[in-house]
Structures are given as structure tokens and as C-alpha cells.
């Protein structure tokens, strides 16, 4: 059901944003400045462009939107991080989570088209583009120094 998929999407987006902000606060090392800014832009993009719109699309489907940590923990497909990884491990972890998010967005897109929800499908398509870009940047950070 599309509304259920969107609820899962909402919780997963929330978890990803929190993790990116966690890395933004705790990143250390020689690449601190770049990673600190990168992680900051990462979670800000999700907060500004994904979370609120996903919640409102759930409401347009005449369903209630979850809004608690408990419900997000139940629904999210991305788990939180209680330890502080090294900088490289932060990037690797976000890359893996970004792939999980991409798979979920594809599932939501299929559900939207199945229920003929074109507006929601367009929104999902936009989110797929954004996370494609995030993946690209994260992979670039992991490449060996080619300079």
C-alpha cells in the first residue's frame, strides 16, 4: 500500500538525516573541515526536501503520519549509530545507507504508479535523483588519492 510505503520512507529519511548530523558533529581527522561541511549539507538537504513533503503526501492519501522516535525506530530501514566511527567509516556507512534509501524509493515509485498517484511518483523520482547525487559524492570520498 502506498501510504505504508511512504511511512516507511518517512522514517528512513528521518534516520538517515539524524545519522548524517551525528557524523557532522563527531567527524575527526585531517579531512575534518570537508567532511564536517559535507555531512552538514547532507542532512540539511534531506530535512529541507524530503521529510516534510513525504509527511504531507501521506496526509493527502487520507492517512495519519507517524511522528515519534518509537514509531520511526519501528519503521526505519536504516539503523542508528551509537559509536563514533573513523571518518572513512562514516562515509562507508552513509554510502551503504544511501543504497538502502535508493531501493526503498524505487519500491515507493512502483507503488505510486500502481495506485496512479502521479504527483507522488514525481516526488519520488526527485528523491531518486537527489540520492543518486549523494551516492556519487560519497563514492568519490572513498576513492584512493589520485592526485
Amino acid at each position: 500500500m502506498l501510504s505504508d510505503d511512504l511511512k516507511t520512507l518517512l522514517a528512513t529519511e528521518y534516520a538517515m538525516a539524524v545519522k548524517a548530523q551525528f557524523f557532522h558533529w563527531n567527524v575527526e581527522g585531517p579531512d575534518f573541515a570537508q567532511l564536517h561541511e559535507f555531512f552538514g549539507e547532507f542532512y540539511a538537504e534531506i530535512n529541507d526536501n524530503a521529510i516534510d513533503r513525504t509527511a504531507e503526501y501521506i496526509r493527502t492519501l487520507d492517512d495519519y503520519t507517524p511522528g515519534s522516535f518509537e514509531r520511526f525506530l519501528e519503521l526505519s530501514q536504516i539503523s542508528g549509530q551509537i559509536k563514533v566511527p573513523r571518518a572513512r567509516l562514516m562515509i562507508e556507512e552513509l554510502l551503504a545507507d544511501n543504497q538502502t534509501m535508493t531501493d526503498l524509493l524505487n519500491q515507493c515509485f512502483a507503488s505510486a504508479e500502481q495506485e496512479n498517484q502521479q504527483g507522488i511518483a514525481n516526488f519520488i523520482a526527485e528523491r531518486l535523483d537527489a540520492h543518486g547525487k549523494h551516492g556519487w559524492m560519497l563514492k568519490a570520498f572513498l576513492k584512493d588519492n589520485r592526485a
Binding site: 559509536k83 573513523r86 567509516l89
Partner: protein, 290 residues
């Protein structure tokens, strides 16, 4: 069956003790038709131990002759205190003296008879008072065994005259404190009320008492540190507490919940924590956030 006929039916050996012949049959007594309690047909004859004093024997003690002997005895021994054991021993001595004919003295028969008649309430005593030596022997033999039982009777009869303390003294009945459930509850309430009143008085004296007690609640105040350990990255680990209450650790002023029995264990835990963090720093893929 009268005493005279009974003795005539016994031979000399049988007369030594008041016993009934084997062929003796009890006289039928119509209880329902009697106006007063009829006398037991076997009254006055020993059956079993000394406690089994027959009702007939008790009635014999209430005869005018016995009462007169008792009054004489009371007057003679006025002010003295006789225990029932002493009375029973007296009866036994008299009975023993009577069985030994050599010790029997004519002059003492009357006096002994009074004592026996009064103390032992025996038939032999009355017989002796009338000068019937054979009757005295038979009666005292029965009375010696009944001396203790007669002493109990004397407790009731002589108690106001001889000595309340020694003879038949009835201890004042002290009602034992019956502990009821209500008494226990009352006592508990009294104790609780006293306790609460003490607390209220203390609060009135010190209005900040409640706050002080709350501040001393475990987990809120650990007191000054007894030992401080600095980690490699500059963080401080403090150990608080004492031997009685146990030791607790605080890291960066955040108390841990674990309690240690002694200071050595707390120090060991701190060292293990520092070593763990040191290993994490060297191989610092993941570092503890907390």
C-alpha cells in the same frame, strides 16, 4: 451395709484393711426417687490410689464429730501455718504409729483420734475417740492413704483459720494479659503516631529538612571523590563513596550506576576503561560516544 456388719464378715487378716468381700454386692440405690443424693454403697472403702477419695469419705468429714475435732485443732494450732504436706505427713505418722501396737499408747488415743478425725477425716479416728482400737487401726489404714486427699479438703475448711499463705493458699488470680489483635494494632498505632509526631517536630524545627533528605538520596549525591584518574585523552574519572556504602565511578562528572564493594575494584574498573579507550584510539575504527 453398716460398718459393724462389714467387719463381722471379714476375718482378722481382712480387717487390717477396709475391703469388701468378694461376694459383696452393692445395695441398689434409686437415684431418681431420692430426695437427696444417696450415699454410695462402697463409700469408705479404699479403691485404687490415694486420690480416689470417695464421695462418702468427704461426707464423713462433715459430720459434727469431725467438725468439733477440727475446731479444737484450729484453736490448738491457732496462728500456726501448716502446709497440706505437713498435715498429710502427720496423718501418716499417726497411721504408722497405730499399726505398730507397741507404739500405741492409751493416753494418746483420744488425742490422736481427734487429729485423725480432724485431719484425715477417717472413720478410724472417730472410732478411736470412742476407744475402739480395732476401729482406729482400720480407719487410720484407710486414712493414711487418704491423707493427701484430706489435706486438700482441709485447704478449703481451715484456710481462713490457720494460714492462708500455707494452707490451701489460692494465689490471686492475675488475669493474664490477653493479647488480642486489637491490642497489637493499638500498640502499632501508638508507635507509629509517636514516630510521626517526632518527624513533624523535626520538620518544624528545620523547615529545610525535607530538602536535605532529598539531597541525600542515593544516586543524586556521591560526595567528594576519593580518587581521580586521568585518561590519555585528558578526561577525568572520579571514584566516590566509602567502604560501607560502596564506591561509584563518575566519568566527565556523569555518575555510573555500577557500585563496587571496595576501592581496589573501582580502581581496576577505571584502569580497564582507560585501557579500552587506549586500544580504541590505536585501532580507532569505532570510538564510544558515551
Amino acid at each position: 451395709m453398716k460398718m459393724k456388719n462389714l467387719f463381722e464378715a471379714l476375718n482378722a487378716q481382712q480387717r487390717s484393711v477396709p475391703q469388701l468381700p468378694a461376694q459383696a454386692k452393692a445395695k441398689h440405690i434409686s437415684v431418681l426417687g431420692a430426695k437427696t443424693d444417696p450415699k454410695h454403697p462402697f463409700a469408705g472403702y479404699m479403691v485404687g490410689a490415694d486420690e480416689s477419695i470417695e464421695e462418702g469419705e468427704r461426707n464423713e468429714l462433715d459430720t459434727p464429730a469431725v467438725q468439733a475435732a477440727l475446731r479444737k485443732m484450729a484453736e490448738r494450732h491457732k496462728g500456726e501455718k501448716w502446709s497440706k504436706e505437713q498435715l498429710a505427713a502427720l496423718g501418716k505418722r499417726i497411721a504408722a504409729r497405730g499399726q505398730n501396737k507397741k507404739d500405741v499408747e492409751e493416753t494418746n488415743f483420744a488425742q490422736a483420734g481427734e487429729v485423725v478425725g480432724g485431719v484425715l477425716g477417717g472413720i478410724g479416728g472417730m472410732a478411736l475417740a470412742r476407744g475402739n482400737k480395732a476401729g482406729y487401726v482400720a480407719g487410720t489404714a484407710a486414712g493414711s492413704a487418704a491423707g493427701n486427699a484430706a489435706g486438700r479438703w482441709i485447704d478449703k475448711k481451715l484456710e481462713p483459720k490457720i494460714g492462708r499463705d500455707e494452707v490451701g493458699a489460692t494465689k490471686p488470680v492475675v488475669a493474664e494479659e490477653s493479647i488480642t489483635k486489637e491490642d497489637i494494632i493499638t500498640k502499632l498505632k501508638a508507635k507509629l503516631g509517636d514516630y510521626l509526631s517526632d518527624i513533624s517536630k523535626e520538620i518544624k524545627k528545620d523547615p529545610d529538612l525535607v530538602d536535605k533528605l532529598a539531597a541525600k538520596a542515593p544516586g543524586d549525591q556521591m560526595g567528594p571523590p576519593v580518587k581521580t584518574i586521568t585518561t590519555d585523552d585528558g578526561h577525568q574519572i572520579q571514584i566516590h563513596g566509602n567502604e560501607d556504602d560502596g564506591f561509584r565511578i563518575s566519568i566527565k562528572n556523569k555518575p555510573a550506576t555500577t557500585k563496587f564493594a571496595n576501592l581496589d575494584e573501582a580502581v581496576m574498573a577505571c584502569e580497564m576503561y582507560c585501557a579500552h579507550r587506549r586500544s580504541q584510539t590505536l585501532n580507532a575504527d569505532y570510538v564510544e560516544e558515551a
